[in-house]
Amino acid sequence: MPLSDEETSLVLKRTVMIAIFAAVAVVLSIAESMIPVNIQIPGAKLGLANIMILTCLYFLRARDALMLVVLKTILTAFIFGTFSSLLFSLFGSLFSFAVMAFLMKLGRRRLSLVGISITGGIAHNIGQLAAASIVFSTLNIFYYLPALLISGIATGILVGIAVRYLVTSLSRLSLFDPFMKA
């Protein structure tokens, strides 16, 4: 079945947006790795790339965001040369994505973007801890969970606020008109 002009342009817009979002997410990951963090919480990070994933979830469909997550994870693995831990990053980011997509669909009335980004960040931590504990077959690693939970709240709030600003600015662009939710 051939697509109408309007549908084609929508598909095109979507594809371009995923590509741009993925590029920005990768750049944010690189920028983040250059910020020296001197805290004694292993695995804690700002999660700036989550800004793009959450924004994507806000405007586009869940499957587009899934595409973005996979792209971003593989691209960062290429750039940082972290192929040995690619599976763990995938585990963490896919789990985080699943939780956020679920909340975006069902929890939107109760939770704002801040709440969703907190849950997403923490889900990422839990996913990675779970992957690590499977590899090493020890539950000792969950020792760091409480500290990660608290740092996850802090970074989640920051990311959530950033997403809110980004969403309001992007909404003003006519490019995003077809994706605005009522």
Binding site: P42, G43, S84, S112, V114, I118, A132, T138, L145, P146
Partner: protein
């Protein structure tokens, strides 16, 4: 921010605190015991024991070189720390100086794990305290 957000934050904070409380209680008891019984650390690579070191006051280093990469572990002042590694994320270096039983240092990309344990002769050590 909606009310649900605040609820979510308080639930997570409460969970984090609940998980921490038993650790503080236990931590106090262990540090008293720490003076006379030196701890050991088991270093495992890919699931197999690579080396077991006693956490002495004197400085000693353990170097791990596998096909995955290189890690340098340093023991001193009854504790252990990952001081150098060529893994890409360097998360293992952020674990810091570990002195308590049950502490763990993990280098996921290199499949290296360091676990601090009580001395072998002491048993598991939980029954001695009241």
């Amino acid at each position: 921010m909606k009310r649900g957000d605040l609820l979510l934050i308080s639930v997570i904070l409460a969970a984090a605190l609940l998980l921490m409380v038993p650790r503080w209680v236990q931590g106090g008891q262990i540090s008293e015991k720490n003076h006379n019984t030196p701890l050991t650390a088991v270093i495992k690579v890919e699931g197999k024991v690579f080396q077991t070191v006693t956490l002495t006051k004197e400085e000693q280093t353990v170097e791990i070189r596998t096909k995955r990469g290189y890690n340098l572990i340093k023991v001193q002042d009854y504790g252990i720390e990952m001081v150098d590694a060529d893994c890409p994320d360097e998360i293992c270096l952020t674990f810091g100086f570990k002195t308590k039983k049950g502490d763990t240092i993990v280098c996921l990309p290199h499949r290296v794990i360091v676990e601090v344990e009580g001395t072998g002769g002491e048993g598991e050590g939980t029954d001695a305290i009241i």
